[in-house]
Symmetry: C2
Subunit: 394 residues, 2 copies
């Protein structure tokens, strides 16, 4: 093992909070703690911090501050976008049809499922190719006169594939259908300019870019109608009630600014590490396959399927060797089921059971990558030896 | 002025985070940052912290850990309880009638209003007396065969009145109707034992008891059916999707334990300060009136109406004198409307415009109380002098 006690390769699941972000948040716990809705110095200090955070986020997205809605997480952002837009359309008699893909995060797919199952909405799920890519023409074909919303993930959490959002968005705009994207995985790495992306609704989650877990945001283009899903006080322009979480909102804004500011150099560094990791892995385990798009993918994201192993055993052995890794979405690990995303991409059921996701971040070095590719073959050999049904292709 | 730069008398709006709570949270930002859903050491450390927090909160409430659902705030807890129980009943064909009071927090009243306006639910609003007290018999009278939920606030945020929850809960239990309470204001001060209170659903918010803004919890009695309002991963027993906010959940549990542990001594201290404040205020401004119940009220809560003044001017002058105070709910200050709560208690419109809420907390001393009662008469005299319609009763 290297000198490190731990090699963290699960940055798509969560990131540590940047110490600069912790510093930005700390004053808002004990010194400046007013409820931003009040009418005194403590309240005003909180309101000012919120305003500044909103302006900073808006600058990154190229939008108006009032188009930024702070939420408690990416899942809430997705829920508000989808439930909010779906109900707004339905209650206005404009339709109840939703378009999505088979590789969405569960915060999107399960929400649409609930709307269909319990509230008589309908969905069309467009297909993806073997790399997890959506064809914008398929989205165009799926649009109906009663389509209320299109929701397509920006970059997939399990396989890292980045979708042609701007093209899909242009189609949605032309046809007058609101377009939402779950951009949670892209927050720290991809262009978030909402006009270049042609999106009306965009979800982010702080803890994917070194802000804390428990804060997110939803961009809502002016004129996009949402029925609020959390009612009460008139916070966030009547779109999301609840006393604002000032420390975390300040933290999210600081973290987004840092990540987006360092994006070019850090993306280049991560992409080089990732390419070394992918090359090393495929050399070390010749029958492993890269999943997702070979180039159009998140910079630090490497995902594989390894024949003859099951993900949980693999992760357990990696953990014992000091490596924190994942099989796919952190929201579904622990399940003995293969990933819907991998199945939608056409992978065989048994192969999809052997998924491994290694996602690099700021703490990782070349030594980390080399360590993983050095230890993995032995682990795989051991697991295959105890798998009665594995027959290697010779 | 006293030596203090600032006298904070708005603890019902928000509290500073206890430094012991900050200490409990800090390791979960930069050292222990795993997504609790993962399968590695970092994830397990987060999962362990969550488990412990859940057990600690359950101990205070006298419930099972799995009956504790962590949320992002009190408003979310209220929304989940009401929307969740309302839809569960409606979709099961069990009814669409909701019972509530006219002195609920907006997170309850606006949510019920939205359900009635957009989704064909019906509500009965039971009345309150001049002290803001509900008569349990009125609740019993309002129950119909199709009643899906009763939601009654534990202690009111604007006037501090504490409701006879256990009696109302006993009626609800006997009639087989789920019973929710917004216990947000009571979290740090009142008995939270869910069996003694006879509640099925109970909302708390961390920042009312020295945990941060942006975390809450909902107690859900086993067997109480809720339709999840935030879907995605299977977090919180499929009742609330979203990566768990480990630092704040740890913080909420620590703060609740501290507040409940120190409750008896601190309540006695606060009640004595409050009585001194109420006495001082009514002596200094003879035509001011205490609002809410004279004795059955939160220990640190003092609320008044002052004839001939408008709340905003009063708060501005107090702020200039270093005192942070409120008129009523922080969620509605800045509005030139009188409080619905005060009107429901039978106060005259113009009188209700002169509401002042002074809520004491850990930082406050007798000197603070005396300072406020000393400076207020001059402020009131000044404001009345510029009020053309004020005619003092002589």
């Amino acid at each position: 093992m290297t000198e490190k006690q731990e090699i963290y390769l699960d940055h798509s699941a969560s990131t540590p909070v940047d110490p600069r972000v912790v510093d930005a948040m700390l004053p808002y716990f004990t010194q400046s703690y007013g409820n931003a809705s009040g009418l005194h110095r403590q309240a005003r200090a909180s309101a000012r911090a919120l305003d500044q955070a909103r302006r900073d986020v808006a600058e990154t997205l190229g939008c108006k501050p009032k188009e930024v809605v702070f939420t408690s997480c990416g899942s809430e952002s997705d829920n508000l976008a989808i439930r909010g837009a779906a109900w707004a359309a339905k209650l206005a008699g404009k339709g109840h049809h939703l378009i999505t893909s088979p590789i969405e995060h569960h915060a999107v797919s399960h929400t649409i499922h609930q709307l269909c199952e319990k509230h008589d909405f309908e969905q069309t799920v467009v297909s993806v190719d073997e790399f997890g890519l959506i064809n914008p023409n398929d989205v165009a074909q799926a649009i109906r006169p009663d389509t209320a919303l299109i929701s397509i993930i920006y970059a997939n959490n399990e396989v890292g594939t980045i979708q042609p959002l701007a093209e899909i968005g242009a189609i949605a705009r032309e046809r007058g259908v609101p377009f939402h994207t779950d951009a949670v995985q892209g927050g720290g790495y991809l262009d978030l300019n909402v006009d270049r992306l042609n999106v009306d609704l965009l979800s982010l989650s702080g803890h994917k870019f070194y802000a804390p877990k428990g804060v997110g945001m939803l961009y809502v283009r002016q004129g996009t109608r949402l029925v609020s899903q959390q009612t009460g006080g008139g916070h966030e322009g009547n779109r999301r009630a609840g006393t604002e979480n000032v420390p975390y909102i300040v933290g999210l804004a600081a973290a987004l600014k840092l990540a987006q500011g360092e994006r070019e150099t850090e993306n280049a560094r991560l992409a080089a590490l990732r390419d070394r990791l992918v090359g090393g892995m495929l050399a070390a385990i010749p029958d492993a396959q890269l999943t997702g798009h070979p180039t159009q993918r998140l910079p630090g994201h490497a995902s594989f399927v390894i024949p003859g192993v099951e993900a949980d055993g693999l992760l357990m052995h990696l953990d014992m060797a000091g490596v924190c890794a994942a099989s796919g979405s952190a929201c579904t690990t622990g399940m003995p089921e293969p990933s819907d995303v991998l199945l939608a991409m056409g992978l065989e059921y048994t192969l999809a059971l052997g998924a491994l996701r290694l996602t690099l971040g700021r703490s990782n070095t070349q030594a980390d990558v080399d360590y993983v590719t050095r230890i993995l073959p032995d682990i795989v050999t051991k697991l295959r030896a105890s798998n009665p049904v594995y027959a290697p292709i010779v």
